[in-house]
Symmetry: C2
Amino acid sequence: MSKVEHQNSTVLTDDELRTLDAHWRAANYLAAGQIYLLANPLLREPLRAEHIKPRLLGHWGTSPGLNLVYTHLNRVIKARSLDALCIWGPGHGGPSVVANSWLEGSYSETYPDIGRDADGMRRLFRQFSFPGGVPSHVAPETPGSIHEGGELGYALSHAYGAAFDNPGLVVACVVGDGEAETGPLAASWHSTKFLDPVHDGAVLPILHLNGYKIANPTVLARLPEAELDDLLRGYGHDPIHVTGDDPAAVHRATAQAFDTALDRIAAIQRAAREDGASERPRWPVIVLRTPKGWTGPAEVDGLPVEGTWRAHQVPLAGVRENPEHLRQLERWLRSYRPEELFDEEGRPVPDVLACLPEGTRRLGSTPRANGGLLTRELPIDDLDRFAVPVDKPGTTLHEPTRVLGDLLAQVMQDTAERRDFRVVGPDETASNRLQAVFDGSGKAWQAEVLPVDEHLDRHGRVLEILSEHTCQGWLEGYLLTGRHGLFSCYEAFVHIVDSMVNQHIKWLKTSRELPWRAPIASLNYLLTSHVWRQDHNGFSHQDPGFVDHVLNKSPEVVRVYLPPDANTLLSVADHVLRSRDYVNVIVAGKQPCFDWLSMDQARVHCARGAGIWDWAGSENGGEPDVVLGCAGDVPTQEVLAAAQLLRRHLPDLAVRVVNVVDIARLMPREEHPHGMTDFEYDGLFTADKPVIFAYHGYPWLIHRLAYRRTGHKNLHVRGYKESGTTTTPFDMVVRNDLDRYRLVMDVIDRVPGLAVRAAAVRQEMADARTRHQSWIREHGTDMPEIAEWSWHA
Amino acid sequence: MSKVEHQNSTVLTDDELRTLDAHWRAANYLAAGQIYLLANPLLREPLRAEHIKPRLLGHWGTSPGLNLVYTHLNRVIKARSLDALCIWGPGHGGPSVVANSWLEGSYSETYPDIGRDADGMRRLFRQFSFPGGVPSHVAPETPGSIHEGGELGYALSHAYGAAFDNPGLVVACVVGDGEAETGPLAASWHSTKFLDPVHDGAVLPILHLNGYKIANPTVLARLPEAELDDLLRGYGHDPIHVTGDDPAAVHRATAQAFDTALDRIAAIQRAAREDGASERPRWPVIVLRTPKGWTGPAEVDGLPVEGTWRAHQVPLAGVRENPEHLRQLERWLRSYRPEELFDEEGRPVPDVLACLPEGTRRLGSTPRANGGLLTRELPIDDLDRFAVPVDKPGTTLHEPTRVLGDLLAQVMQDTAERRDFRVVGPDETASNRLQAVFDGSGKAWQAEVLPVDEHLDRHGRVLEILSEHTCQGWLEGYLLTGRHGLFSCYEAFVHIVDSMVNQHIKWLKTSRELPWRAPIASLNYLLTSHVWRQDHNGFSHQDPGFVDHVLNKSPEVVRVYLPPDANTLLSVADHVLRSRDYVNVIVAGKQPCFDWLSMDQARVHCARGAGIWDWAGSENGGEPDVVLGCAGDVPTQEVLAAAQLLRRHLPDLAVRVVNVVDIARLMPREEHPHGMTDFEYDGLFTADKPVIFAYHGYPWLIHRLAYRRTGHKNLHVRGYKESGTTTTPFDMVVRNDLDRYRLVMDVIDRVPGLAVRAAAVRQEMADARTRHQSWIREHGTDMPEIAEWSWHA
């Protein structure tokens, strides 16, 4: 551990120090200006109340530290011709990152109406946190960013995601000491065990200890330094410290710290790439300890502000009304000496610009942060190569995810050179029966390997860590920098990343509205080990609500698929892996499941998203008496079994079977791009016949999607209603009234006139349910009539 | 750091070693027996296929380690008369905890049909993971547990929650090395900075490194030991190691490790309590390194199993069909020498029972794990003491959460001696304007304190850490051990704990069905800084979907309240703080909000959950022409403003205003205990008049709740539709079509005959929206007619 603390570093010449400080002061000025000023941006006249924004919004506290990091990153990028990207964890400091990209020119190139001159500066200030302007955080609107500065915890996993398979890239990552308290951030430090120094780039975490959160000290800032060093070494790092509040000393120390860190990174990479070193390296981390709100007002109204939590947002809050605050603000802004930093036209002077790299080396202009520019088509073979043969529906069984595994293995193999495809999962790739993918690539692992281990590979592209948060963060970072991937997860536990997917969907929604942001590969979830087949685990592992969660979000972004068998899963997977700018959720089983459709049929069915399975129904060209709808593998099986029972017991009943793969098809077209028109919907479900719909998840979701349909009052939905435990597969559907017998009873109860005519059939169904209850209590398995059931017309 | 590793410890006599080992072997036998045996529980006859369960489900891998810990906890509890509780993080090892509680007698006392004899053992085995039996994980059904063994990551925060304000308690906490990779677990190690050695009990983490997850090695098990020690020291611990696979040596080392750890804990507590030591102590942690599936089959079908991931679930999977597997299982089970462990009647012999403590000292019988037995009524003063005076509705403003703060401060003060009430939050207590609570208690903080800090208190009961996961886990542990609390959180970021609340609701649902589990205090959320008032933060901070999430869960458990002003918030808070076994979600604003109801009116309105505000409408005893419904503070204000506009512009229109506080009132009574009958619903909303409903969150939720109502086709809902950014408060409602002008237009569009008659009014409303657009673009603030609006009849 080397410590660089106020020491007389000789890294910087006095001239460099002067120009770096000029850049930093300019960035500080511009950050504060964005929070406060509507007019008079260069303070060419005395500051008056009418120059001040009526609503003061933004976060000053973190900004000077971010400005320091941006300034010094500029220096090393230029000096070393680095390909670099920075993740701004404390992205609440939006004014800082915006200020820096304006200084380097990236901002004006992205937004030509915000020129790099006095008028542009005025617009820059005005637009910040102003209606119709830009958000107060780092956001998709911010050039050079792949990381929203709202919800905290994901900076480091995003950084690693960006670094994977980018061997020439250095990803700096500022981690705030507030963010460092979150679970996702705490877990992601162990990403050091997954970063391949040969094929991946480097991540340089910069732990910024400014000491305070919104209203409290931070845990890490109050550790004795030796204890903090223990912690960082325990994470696999070697800490380099920069501590101080004297700008010149901190500039010198920061420059030396960056040089030391980058030298070490270069040495680590050289050792791995040229000398074949295979031991897990100890990567550097910079610990930067500077005051919160540094260079801002030291005291306001008699209370300390600089260096305390009071600097978190707007240090001087009453500027328009309070002349003393106004004077204090003016003193603060003038302390940066703007007249030295900007010329007559308001352009940054050469000293300010001296540290800047050029072109796409600039942090605000790197295509790494606009990954769609770099995204290539994935090579996906013809699906016929992986399809299962289906001569007759419902007679053969396959595990759908296992079949998908072969497809993923092919994509892995065919991207072996390009290295732009990853499969991530929380220790579940094999459990989810995707293990064929290991034929394409092993599991990334830089820690110790024992002889008994399987598929561990220092250069593998399958990522497994028992942290859904880290998996999600890695994949987001990977996609946002122009690559592809799939996240396979137990259905119930994907709720762990509910809030992360919220943020990613928000990011995509906003990005789609920005013409300069190129579309990136979609974030694809495969949810398996689902609610109906948690034989080993029971109630705690049963939750199908992620679909409900994502369907609350922007319909432009969200797609949900429930393929009912292996070939439909292939077709859906092919589609989502080729798509852009979506969050795709696929729910599919891993247990043996009947094959219903041939590959050709599956392609057509999935393209339509929903369709009549006429071979399964008993219509004879006329109107059906009842429609059996289904979505999901287990509900589809129960509906088919119910259709078969109806055919046997009530042969003159005209039954239509409709399977839905793309659940948004049920929504009105005005509410989702995939929604059906009423004409289409009525064509499938009729406008007036009873519809018994067996759905994979919570039944009310179907009502929420279809409540505007003409025939909604005839829609009767069965699904999971939180009645779960450790039991047999069929008992699960019985407990939730989704079983074939219950569905037949529903038909009899709902089709006019059947109640009397089919009373005996109804009783037979009720008896079968009773028979089931006693059978499982005695045998612990499903009845032979269930276990051995298969489809026959 | 002291290391206890295979050394010749003298802690145990040979006799003690023999009896402890007997207990451990018995527990191992019973754990394996539960996974495999339907009959022949004592192996009194040769094992045959028909003795084996038809479906082999369960997790063997972690069980022997848990059995070791249980055995040795028994020893120290007995030797030291400890008041102890254990959190079993690797709760997948359900068979282990069940086995141990059967051995100690707790199981049979809880479930008298499972006696501590041969027949009881047969039933114990059969019921495990069997339909109608018990789940495979540690669960509410398991005596002595407060921690479901399903979703991983919460063991340590539950342990700290249990230890807070229980000075006499030692909470042992087994952390699996799989679980240790999760974010929530990683964050919760820093709970050491919040544990008060004076008023809180101790937490003794036992990090169990068995080396593997489902299919991968674990990160922590593959760290060099020095690096792991760094990490644990960085968390604030002092590690004690136990490593081995020879039972006798591990028994000796474990006994010594427990003694060392408990001696240190006693010394720490003595120093703090008697000597006034105020430095944060370095608490012990035990690192237990034993093989996964220890004592199980070493090899199966030629592949290593013991000590590898292959031991995770069922090591021998084909026992019924494969005679070699059957023989291997029999050898394995007989290796524990059951004939030495159980007598003729199948009762554990005295040697097995020798280590056991008695009565409520037993881990399976401690009331700490059945917290409802210990829960007392909270002292809550008459609400009139905190109420804001309301002479006329809608003329005065208060910040509702600030008013609530006074109530919470009183409860804090009045529990100063009892110490059974905590307020938790992720650094947001003051931001959420609850700071009055600091008058009742400071913020818990054991780390360094600087002169500038405020409200930090080594003995405080307000808990703030920037980790929603840790907050949630702490509070769950606190409630489950018989205390009370409230979690205040930014509305959007409560999604971070979606999956945790799922598990807690499942726990409560199951617990309510177990007569021996006494009701515990409800888990109360105060969601504030809500979607409509994220002025500083914008889109990333806007998500009202937590309500949708929890309403998917068991209606017996879930309650959601949207009080529209300060006094209704007081009434709701009073209710939820007194309630039991619920998850209560309160959504309430922190910004100045009109006072609508006096305290008396608020009490009546909240008791009804929904009601007509006749003072706000313009009915004259007859049927209304239109109903304006509202739920939430901002929608209520917009509906009232719309009612006022209607009164002015269309004075002959009969408008009814209905406010809903308890959102489940909208559901059918059959679906939620708070649901209205159709008679009640139609009485409020009519069966045939247009209803314009302004809702706080996603509008389709209201449809999902009310789709069965007669008048549903006339229900038109406005709410948040993911149209967010950094802008003014009124612009947020305009962007989402929830504003007063839009609501008036909706009324005109929906009431038959109004479209023509009120065309000019409609145009005026549309013009006001346009005026708004230009005003905010120019001024950045809301128009005076909005900013200065107040209610007048």
